[in-house]
């Protein structure tokens, strides 16, 4: 119970801290709008004008992923710069319970990206927000946040070990967008990418959102997204314990 309380309060306070950063706020406001605009024009120039709502949802998911990725990498790096990484790792807790609220907070703030792109699509491009399963869409959005947050934890475990975590985080942005079918259906990608896509929670999260938007079996996709997320949580938790010890050997918890 105390752990759950700590996770909830930690997530809330990290989200509060993120929401007060002018840089984070500017990025959260601008990037999803640019992505939504690009997606809408891409779909229009192709033969997908009837799928504009999918474009908006896909762009929103890209925003959540960008927030989790840059957030997880950036947040660990920021903690290092602020000198708080040592202080939180010094707490008598499992490392996973210390880092999870940080990645969960980035996923929560990333939810804004989904809402912003939908609103942008509605206001500027007149996309009608007609969801096949509105309740399932909400559930899929929550599953995406949880699944991506747990995936972010797995990534964050490596960021604890590396002083230049951003160098690893930045190049991962675009491959995950592509592989997860956030914008382009994974069926058009080379066949060797399919097994990779199948083990990413982002793929199933994107699929759940798309199915909730245009119709289809939403709940199995939500289940798989959460199941893969849970595996990421367990593996990430183990990695964090190992990497935290390694970081104490290599002295990478602090900036210097």
């Amino acid at each position: 119970m105390t752990t759950l309380r700590m996770l909830a309060i930690g997530t809330l306070l990290h989200a509060k801290h993120l929401s007060r950063s002018p840089f984070e706020v500017a990025m959260a406001l601008i990037v999803p709008l640019v992505q939504a605009t690009l997606a809408v024009h891409l779909f229009r120039s192709g033969d997908g004008s009837h799928r504009l709502i999918e474009a908006a949802v896909g762009a929103g998911l890209m925003g959540i992923w960008a927030s989790v990725l840059t957030g997880s990498g950036g947040a660990i790096q920021n903690q290092r710069w602020q000198g708080t990484l040592e202080m939180i790792m010094l707490a008598p807790r499992r490392p996973v319970t210390v880092i999870l609220p940080i990645t969960a907070a980035t996923a929560v703030t990333g939810m804004y990206a989904l809402l912003a792109t939908l609103a942008w699509g509605r206001i500027v491009y007149g996309i009608r927000i007609e969801l096949a399963h509105p309740a399932a869409f909400l559930a899929a959005a929550v599953a995406c946040v949880l699944g991506l947050g747990m995936f972010g934890l797995l990534l964050a475990s490596t960021f604890v070990l590396l002083r230049n975590a951003n160098a690893l985080a930045n190049p991962l942005d675009y491959p995950i967008w592509l592989l997860s079918g956030m914008l382009v259906p994974i069926t058009v990608l080379p066949s060797w990418t399919l097994p990779v896509a199948a083990v990413l929670p982002t793929t199933w999260g994107a699929r759940a959102l798309r199915e909730a938007t245009v119709g289809g079996p939403v709940w199995p996709s939500i289940g798989i997204c959460l199941a893969i997320g849970a595996v990421c949580l367990v593996v990430g938790g183990y990695c964090l314990t190992v990497f935290e010890r390694r970081a104490r050997v290599t002295a990478t918890l602090a900036l210097s």
Partner: protein
């Protein structure tokens, strides 16, 4: 073991033992042969491996309730020693126990019993309020929910931040941040508190308040390990002091015992402007001169010359400095700082 390490101090006031104190040990901290080597790699194509021995075999024991000072120049190994004792770094060699628990194998037990406070602007969530910072760390340190409000209020009162807790930390002065650091370090009532240069950059009034708080904690039975550059602070607060230089403990004893290292000496202080290195070298060669040091104070320099008491060196020193613009010249008894300079220079 270095013979200097066996110096014993007059017994400090009996400490208040916590319920979790493990029977059989009078020491809150015990370290044997503690060493730490840093390895860095630079370059990708032709990587170069560099190793730095930051701490080389430190042995120390700190009694429960003792206020123990760790003094040394920059890069001497003070912070590395503290980080090994508080579990942030794993020693390259040697062992250490805090509260009877091993810092490498019983990390979580050690962490439950310690607090860590370091000096400077970093280490806090700037865009959160002081209260939010304390709430978050109270959760991390598993302070029971029903106790948190009362404990945080107590600590805000203790460090003099009551009424300012709702403001964002980014608007706090250096002194206020430092006080918030201390409140955070005390949330879970640690048995051992590590204070790593807590008064760095703090104004004199805030530093005095800080010293009063630290003395109060020690009086209540908290074991404190303090690193500082300020000799007066160490002299006023510490039961015992270890001087560390080059990664090794060079001297250990009470402030009075360390001061005695400068017995038989006299100190000449000269305010000067633009003393060349050649003049300094010449001063060191004068008969009776034991140490020289120069401290820059803006455009002015404070030249300190330690000499044997039975040799009057003032005339010779002033002769060597002829042609250099001088200010006030004073002769005085040696202080702890002079003893410290002598110990560090001899290392």
């Amino acid at each position: 073991m270095d013979s200097e390490h066996t110096l014993t101090a007059p017994s400090p006031p009996p400490p208040a033992l916590s319920p979790s104190t493990r029977a059989g040990s009078d020491f809150a901290i015990e370290a044997e042969g503690l060493s730490r080597t840093y390895r860095t790699r630079t370059g990708w194509l032709r990587p170069r491996l560099q190793t730095v021995d930051a701490v080389r075999g430190v042995d120390l024991s700190v009694r429960r309730g003792e206020l123990f000072g760790l003094l040394g120049p920059n890069g001497a190994g003070k912070t590395t020693t503290i980080k090994m004792l508080n579990t942030l770094l794993i020693p390259s060699a040697g062992t250490a126990r805090v509260g009877g628990y091993d810092v490498v194998t019983q990390t979580r037990e050690v962490r439950r019993r310690i607090g860590y406070v370091f000096g400077g602007d970093r280490g806090l969530y700037d865009r959160l309020s002081g209260l939010d910072n304390l709430r978050y760390f109270a959760e991390l340190y598993a302070v029971p929910a029903r106790e948190q409000k009362r404990r945080i209020a107590e600590l805000l009162e203790l460090v003099g931040l009551r009424g300012r807790e709702g403001e964002r930390v980014e608007g706090y002065s250096r002194g206020m941040r430092q006080r918030l650091h201390i409140a955070r370090g005390l949330l879970h009532r640690p048995e051992v508190l590590f204070l790593d240069e807590p008064s760095i950059g703090v104004d004199p009034v805030a530093a005095r308040e800080l010293r009063r708080t630290v003395a109060g904690l020690a009086a209540n039975g908290t074991t404190i390990v303090l690193t500082t550059h300020y000799m007066a602070e160490a002299d006023e607060l510490c039961d015992r002091i270890a001087v560390i230089a080059g990664g090794r403990i060079q001297a250990l004893g009470t402030p009075a015992e360390l001061r005695r290292r400068a017995d038989g000496r006299r100190v000449l202080e000269i305010e000067a402007y633009g003393v060349p290195d050649a003049a300094l070298a010449a001063l060191r060669e004068l008969p009776g001169v034991r140490e020289t040091a120069v401290e820059a104070r803006g455009t002015q320099q404070l030249l300190t010359v330690q000499s044997d008491t039975d040799v009057d060196v003032q005339g010779d020193v002033l002769r060597e400095l002829s042609g250099i613009r001088l200010g006030r010249v004073t002769s005085r008894e040696p202080t702890l700082e002079d003893a410290y300079v002598a110990i560090v220079n001899a290392s």
